[in-house]
Amino acid sequence: MTKETYKLFDLAANQLETAIMLFCSGDDKFSVITLAGAADVIFCQLVTRIGQDNFTKIISKEENDPRSIPEVGKDINDTLHINALKHLDPGEDEYVSLDADECALGAILKAIANYNMLEGKNENLINGFRAWAQINLDLKKYNIN
């Protein structure tokens, strides 16, 4: 066991790749949401650092949303139940209701949207998901090329 230096971009890309692998193989959807959600936090920041609008900012602009970007981001994450799957606060309800398949798909699509804006991306990482989407999704509805 030894320490090594890693790029956060690579660590996040590995998480997204695992999320896609779990999703396409019909495995645990809770883990898909958590992994894609964590990867996306890194991608969002890296997109901002290269002077581009990240997914949340693009949505905010398109919807003319008066709220701050962090507020819109939290709303999106709450819709996808990203925080509910990794936290339980004191006094909080121990039950959560969600459509795990739909949230997993949304979390991956959001992470891919940001990943695709970054230099150094590996097309092979999302090829499996693209193939799955072409068979299983309405590509126009989900805005997938």
Binding site: E4, A12, Q15, T18, F30, S31, T34, A38, K86, L88
Partner: protein, 171 residues
Amino acid sequence: MTSTEKKYHKKEIATEQLKTAIKLFLNEKDLSSVIILASAAGSILSQLARNAEEEPFIDYACRIHNHIKKITPGREKYNHFINIKLGITSHKHMSDSDPETVELDLLRCALDGLTIAVSDFVTLYGQEEPFIKAFLHWTWHNTNGKKLIEEFKDIPKNLIQKKKKNDKRNL
């Protein structure tokens, strides 16, 4: 709740994520994913343990700190410290001023993160689940389990983790 929504207890959510994390770890898959999933499961299990009036790992860690350093750290502060040490923070947070690289021992972080989550799982539900047994079996063979048990025998009784409900299941 829409027609396609289902209601899940957080135990199920944490268990699935911990099971996936252990599966990835034992199959030598991506360690960053192991770290994130163990952290998510561990965070939920820790609060579930507290809700069940059991002693979660973090409280036990605070007691050990007190024994060694003669001062009890704040729970949140110590949890934050552990999250940094285990690479959890750098895997899921990136502020405007954070560097774009991080120095980590991914295997050590993944193993320690899993150990914490498994500790709280065992406190709550025992160690009979096959994925828990598989992880314990791996650690026994790869971290010199016999030597650790010998050292554990010499630990003062007041430093053994408190278990109220599951003593019999954990023997």
